[in-house]
C-alpha cells in the first residue's frame, strides 16, 4: 500500500463511519475494556444481541469500543442514532440493556435514570 492509498481508505472509512455502514439506523457501542468486562460488559453485550435478535431488529447494529475511563459507570454503552445526540448509558446490567432496547431503541424514550451523558455525535 502507498501513501495515496491511505488517503483513499480514509475517505471511504469516514463515509462508512458516518453512514454506519449504510445499513443500520441505530448503532449500540458497548465499552469492552478490561474494566467494563470486569464489571460485566460481556453479559450486557450478550443481552443487547439477544434482545435484538429476539425482536428481529434489522436496523440495529452492535459494536465494541475500548474503555473511556468511566470506571464507576461501567459497564457502559452508547446509543448512536442518525441526527441525534449520542446517549451514553452507564451501570448497565443485562436487564437494563433489554429495557434500553425496548424503551429507547424501539419506542424512542431514553431510559433516563441510566443516562450518564448526552453529547454531540
Amino acid at each position: 500500500m502507498k501513501l495515496e492509498d491511505l488517503r483513499k481508505i480514509r475517505e471511504k472509512a469516514e463515509r462508512e463511519l458516518k453512514l454506519r455502514e449504510g445499513k443500520a439506523r441505530v448503532k449500540i457501542v458497548v465499552g469492552m475494556g478490561t474494566s467494563g468486562i470486569a464489571a460485566g460488559a460481556r453479559e450486557v453485550l450478550k443481552a443487547f444481541l439477544d434482545e435484538i435478535e429476539k425482536r428481529n431488529l434489522q436496523d440495529v447494529m452492535v459494536t465494541q469500543s475500548g474503555e473511556k475511563g468511566l470506571s464507576s459507570h461501567e459497564p457502559v454503552a452508547e446509543v448512536w442514532e442518525e441526527g441525534k445526540p449520542v446517549v451514553v448509558y452507564g451501570n448497565l446490567t443485562p436487564e437494563i440493556a433489554r429495557k434500553v432496547i425496548a424503551d429507547h431503541i424501539v419506542n424512542g424514550n431514553p431510559v433516563t435514570e441510566y443516562v450518564i451523558e448526552v453529547r454531540e455525535a
Partner: protein, 153 residues
C-alpha cells in the same frame, strides 16, 4: 500445544524465553512448569539449566508447583486494599478452605495474591485465570466461585 510445538513455534533466540515459558505453562492444565519443561527449554535455547530456573522463579506469573484449574489472583495493591481487598481475601480463604498460595484438595482452585491488575476504578478486583472481576463483594464472590465450581464439573 505440546512442549515441542511451543518450542518449534519460537526461534532459538534467548529473548523468546518468557514467551516460551508462558505458552508451556498455559498449555499445562495445572498451570505450572515442570523440571522437564525447564530442562527442555534450556536445551532448546542453549541456556544453562540454572539460568532458566533463575528466570522462571523471578516472575510471579510462573509457578514450579502444580496449581488448580482456576488460579484466583486477588489484587492486594493500595487501591484494592483501601476498597476492602482484605475482606475479599478473608472471604476467599474461608470459602475455599485454603491459604494464600495453596490449592484446593479437588485441584480446582489455587488462591494467590497479585499486584495491581489495572482495573482500580472497579476495586476491589481479582483475576481468575485471564478473566478480570471487579466491584467485588462477598455475594459476588460466592456467586463466581459457585459458577466456576459448576463449570469445572
Amino acid at each position: 500445544m505440546t512442549r515441542e510445538e511451543v518450542l518449534n513455534k519460537y526461534g532459538k533466540s534467548k529473548d523468546n524465553l518468557l514467551y516460551i515459558l508462558h505458552d508451556i505453562q498455559d498449555s499445562n492444565p495445572r498451570h505450572y512448569l515442570t523440571e522437564e519443561d525447564l530442562k527442555e527449554v534450556a536445551k532448546w535455547l542453549e541456556l544453562p539449566y540454572s539460568y532458566v530456573h533463575g528466570v522462571a522463579t523471578f516472575y510471579s506469573m510462573f509457578s514450579l508447583k502444580p496449581r488448580g484449574k482456576y488460579i484466583i489472583r486477588v489484587c492486594e495493591s493500595p487501591t484494592c486494599h483501601l476498597m476492602g481487598a482484605s475482606n475479599i481475601i478473608i472471604e476467599l480463604v474461608k470459602s475455599l478452605g485454603v491459604g494464600i498460595g495453596e490449592t484446593t484438595k479437588d485441584e480446582i482452585f489455587t488462591l494467590e495474591l497479585t499486584s495491581c491488575i489495572g482495573v482500580c476504578g472497579v476495586a476491589p478486583a481479582m483475576m481468575i485465570n485471564s478473566e478480570v472481576y471487579g466491584n467485588l463483594t462477598s455475594e459476588k464472590i460466592a456467586q463466581i466461585i459457585d459458577e466456576k465450581r459448576r463449570e469445572s464439573k
